[in-house]
């Protein structure tokens, strides 16, 4: 339960909190929603990184949200715990997850080799968007934790949308 006195949990717990500052909610939704709406990065790649970062943060509120069309199966979500030992992830996904693994607490350990591996697989614009997205996932989990956003298990069209919901 959030410690904020006047927050609600509708239409989503996150919007109920951020909605206390409507101009902030609108701008945040526009920024974060673009990642999902505008297909700047393949949805499956975003979703894998989002969930991996959420696992690292043990952020139940973020883990409770699932992207229904990202193409990540339940067994693959389970495999994210030990993704290095599972062969269900493609080379580009492994390159992305290597960076996602270090973004929350070991960002200075992200190596030139790891970034180069990502850039070999993706066009520059998509790689830039993905790295930015991973940073957003990290900050999103931190916000959820500090603001006390309640988990609400749901499968959604996208975790965020410019003109839709922010989960």
């Amino acid at each position: 339960m959030t410690w904020l006195r006047s927050a609600s949990d509708t239409p989503t717990p996150f919007e109920g909190v951020l909605g206390l500052r409507p101009e902030l909610l609108a701008a945040y939704r526009d920024f974060y929603g673009r990642l999902w709406d505008d297909r700047l990065v393949a949805p499956r790649l975003l979703e894998l990184c989002r969930l991996r970062v959420a696992l690292l943060h043990d952020c139940q509120a973020e883990l409770a949200v699932r992207h229904e069309t990202a193409g990540v199966a339940a067994e693959e979500v389970a495999a994210l715990e030990q993704w290095q030992r599972n062969d269900c992830f493609t080379p580009v996904e492994r390159a992305a997850l290597a960076i996602a693994d270090k973004m929350p607490w070991r960002q200075h350990e992200i190596s030139d080799v790891e970034v180069a591996a990502l850039r070999r697989h993706l066009p520059e614009a998509e790689a830039v968007a993905l790295v930015l997205a991973i940073g957003l996932f990290d900050s999103h989990c931190r916000l959820r934790t500090v603001l006390g956003i309640e988990p609400r298990r749901q499968t959604v069209a996208a975790p965020a949308s410019k003109r839709g919901r922010l989960y």
Binding site: R21, E23, L24, A27, Y28, D30, F31, R34, L35, D38, L40, Q107, H108, D112, V115, A116, R119, E124, A125, A127, V128, A129, V131, L132
Partner: protein, 65 residues
């Protein structure tokens, strides 16, 4: 702490930095600046408090930028 750019600049004849790298996604960058602008221009905290928090965060995360 690394401050060596790992991505190219999207702006001809401009070196890679935060803005020129994110220019690979211009609409996303514009949305970021709108959000960041709200952080600084609105809210209950004064600029000094925000600046103190920003610099403290930079030191904790060892962010040279």
């Amino acid at each position: 702490m690394s401050t060596t750019p790992r991505f190219t600049s999207a702006v001809t004849d401009q070196p890679p930095d935060f803005s020129t790298v994110l220019q690979h996604q211009p609409a996303l960058l514009a949305a970021f600046w709108r959000l960041y602008g709200i952080f600084w221009s609105q809210g209950a905290l004064d600029h000094r408090a925000k600046e103190v928090a920003r610099i403290r965060n930079a030191r904790v995360t060892n962010c040279g930028f």
